[in-house]
């Protein structure tokens, strides 16, 4: 009976193409708005390294002002970054399997090619564990070792894009690039890597593209590199030199730790509290003990990556879909009632109410799916439009505005549900018609 009902559905679409188009269009627009909003929401609320959620932790220590908390809205929260000296102290712990101390800076890249433009590029100054802890994929080579972190050695990891622009995409490991006035040897070239959101450093927003250049953390002090992220200070201190800055209570270093077990996590938490207590004895950390390890999910929540506005937007999108569905109910009623005489005839010839209901339900389900497919096309166009609108100013939107298979499946499911929701009443209503009423009007 399903194939027969599909056949009848096609005949019905041909009979009234305008109304059919309006119904599919109404569903498509509702689905497109929902899919675009959900795609953005999904990207923002996504945990891009979910498989390490119980291994990878952002480390925080409350080194802040005794008079007022770092975050007035959430006074229980410690500052999200560490002081330089605390970061150095934490790097000495051997409990985590990987320790990442880092900050964002910028460097001028000169590949030594006469025809290549010299360009200031986002640079991450980090320990080599960055690549291991965050599972960063490499196209060529790999991360630098611990010795390179210590010296520090003039080594660099570059992004795939930089490698393509500078070396035409060949294996450039072993070659040299000049960063400002110093040569760095390439030890690794990243493969495509666009975590969204950029959970590992949310200071400049959650939609940043990863950096193009990565150099060892110790170069920060050696070259007196300034942070291109947030630097927050609470204490009135004389800062006349970079050394003064690294010794200050200003927080500007992001710190992550990866543990091989829950026991190590707990040991490190105790170690951290012990460290804080020692610092209290030295006159630091005037606030109550408040050290936390946040897994990635908690870290995204801590930084309010998904804002209330995002949730409101999703709610509004679904309300818009509901309005489209209500409109579709009206359109379907008009469509079905315009062919009520045919349903009356079928009833006279032996179709039960259930037969008529099923026939029309199949029609709306197919229409819903067609609306869903059309909605997917509109969504893709909408997301493409967003990319065009924001590409020049906010390159990071490019990584967000891609529809993944999950969102495509969600859109299809949503259109199916919307079709059924819109069609249930009209299909039921048309199944209840009295056949005799319409036979004379055929």
């Amino acid at each position: 009976m399903l194939s027969y009902n599909l056949h009848l559905a096609c005949a019905s679409y041909r009979r009234n193409p305008t109304l059919t188009g309006l119904v599919a269009g109404a569903i498509a627009i509702g689905i497109a708005v929902c899919t675009i909003t959900l795609t953005l929401y999904h990207a923002l609320s996504n945990n891009p390294i979910w498989w390490k959620n119980d291994q990878l932790y952002a480390v925080t220590i409350d080194s802040w002002d005794p008079e007022r908390p770092d975050n007035d809205k959430h006074p229980e929260r410690p500052p999200p970054q560490l002081t330089y000296k605390d970061a150095l102290a934490l790097l000495k712990s051997d409990i985590p399997v990987h320790k990442v101390a880092m900050f964002k800076s910028t460097r001028v890249l000169d590949a030594g090619k006469a025809d290549a433009k010299v360009k200031r590029m986002d640079t991450r100054v980090t320990t080599g564990d960055f690549f291991r802890a965050f599972d960063v994929p490499f196209l060529y080579g790999g991360p630098w070792n611990a010795a390179a972190d210590q010296s520090p050695e003039p080594v660099v990891v570059i992004s795939k894009e930089v490698n393509e622009k500078t070396f035409g995409g060949i294996n450039s490991v072993g070659r040299t690039v000049r960063l400002d006035d110093r040569d760095f040897r390439i030890v690794g070239v990243l493969d495509t890597w666009r975590p969204a959101p950029t959970y590992y450093d949310l200071n400049n927003g959650s939609l940043e593209n990863p950096e193009d250049i990565y150099i060892p953390f110790a170069w920060g002090e050696a070259l007196e590199l300034e942070s291109a992220g947030n630097t927050n200070c609470w204490k009135s201190e004389q800062i006349n030199s970079f050394k003064d800055f690294t010794n200050s209570e200003c927080v500007w270093i992001q710190f992550w730790a990866e543990f091989s077990s829950k026991a190590d996590h707990n040991r490190f938490q105790s170690w951290l509290d012990g460290y804080a207590k020692d610092q209290k004895k030295l006159g630091r950390f005037p606030r109550p003990l408040n050290n936390h390890l946040y897994n990635v999910d908690e870290w995204l929540a801590f930084n309010e990556v998904v804002t209330k506005d995002n949730r409101v937007l999703v709610g509004l999108a679904f309300m818009f879909l509901a309005v489209c569905v209500v409109n579709t109910v009206g359109l379907l009623l008009a469509k079905f009632l315009s062919a009520a005489s045919l349903s009356g005839l079928r009833r006279a010839l032996g179709a039960s109410r259930r037969d008529i209901f099923q026939q029309h339900l199949v029609e709306v389900i197919v229409l819903g799916l067609a609306g869903g497919l059309l909605g997917l096309i509109l969504s893709a166009l909408g997301l493409w439009g967003l990319r065009l609108m924001f590409a020049s100013d906010f390159d990071q939107y490019a990584s967000l505005t891609h529809m993944d298979p999950t969102m495509m499946s969600a859109a299809i499911l949503l259109s199916l549900l919307a079709g059924i929701a819109a069609g249930l009443y009209p299909a039921w209503r048309i199944g209840r018609i009295q056949p005799a009423t319409y036979l004379k009007t055929q």
């Binding site: 010839l349 032996g350 179709a351 039960s352 259930r354 055929q442």
Partner: protein, 243 residues
């Protein structure tokens, strides 16, 4: 075959009640060809709708093929309509965007017959009405008479116990009307009971007997007394051919 006793049907609106049938008695035996006549608004179509299980009624009893169908549910009514009753309408009531084959197929689909069984029945029914060669045509490509023959084929394909025909020649010219009547008589001779509502006294005369309805009641009724003979036709009344 068909036995109605004391049937009453009332149509109600907020303001008025209309008694379409009142104390309506009629018995039709298997193999009969009965013509039902009467002026417009007399209740002929209401009778036909009730006989065809298309409408319910307030009072009385209705036995169809030895089964009391007075208070059966909608699903059962649909099934009985599908299996035991064939309908022929004045305006043919074919589905315009389905071809002839698919139109005849409609009632068979709801009987959940196999594809091969349906095909046999459809081709056989179209053969009987002489339209087997036109099965891929859509209704608009056929004349009125041919369309009515398709409707008859559709009614026959389900192998019904009886046919209900509502002004089957009302939209046809006299030549086509005669051909359709010839076909109905042929079908009746093959054993199918036919009840035909008509305004046309000439057509009514060709039935075994006539039943006249006025104001929702049978006014001229004589039980069936035997096989069809032209002399068995009882007096025709209600000849007025008003709408």
């Amino acid at each position: 075959m068909l036995d109605m006793q004391g049937i009453a049907k009332i149509f109600r609106t907020d303001l008025i009640e209309t008694h379409a049938l009142r104390n309506f008695d009629l018995k039709v035996e298997a193999g009969e060809f009965v013509a039902v006549t009467g002026p417009s608004g007399s209740g002929k179509t209401t009778f036909l709708n009730i006989a065809g299980l298309l409408e319910t009624f307030e009072h009385g009893t209705y036995r169809l093929d030895d089964q009391d169908v007075s208070r059966i549910g909608d699903d059962q009514r649909s099934r009985l309509r599908n299996e035991k009753i064939g309908f022929i309408f004045q305006s043919f009531n074919l589905i315009p965007d389905l071809n002839i084959y698919d139109n005849v197929d409609v009632p068979l689909r709801y009987r959940r017959l196999s594809a091969s069984d349906r095909h046999t029945r459809i081709t056989s029914a179209l053969d009987i009405v002489g339209l087997a060669s036109r099965m891929k045509h859509i209704p608009a490509q056929l004349s009125g008479g041919q369309q009515q023959r398709v409707a008859i084929a559709r009614a026959l394909a389900g192998d019904p116990k009886f046919l209900l025909a509502d002004e089957p020649t009302g939209n046809l010219d006299s030549l086509m009307a005669r051909q359709v009547m010839d076909l109905l008589e042929e079908i009746n001779r093959m054993g199918t009971t036919i009840i035909m509502v008509t305004h046309d006294p000439d057509l009514a005369r060709r039935a075994h007997r006539n039943v006249q309805i006025i104001d929702g009641q049978v006014t001229d009724y004589k039980p069936y007394e035997g096989p069809y003979e032209p002399s068995a036709i009882i007096g025709v009344t209600g000849e007025r051919a008003s709408g």
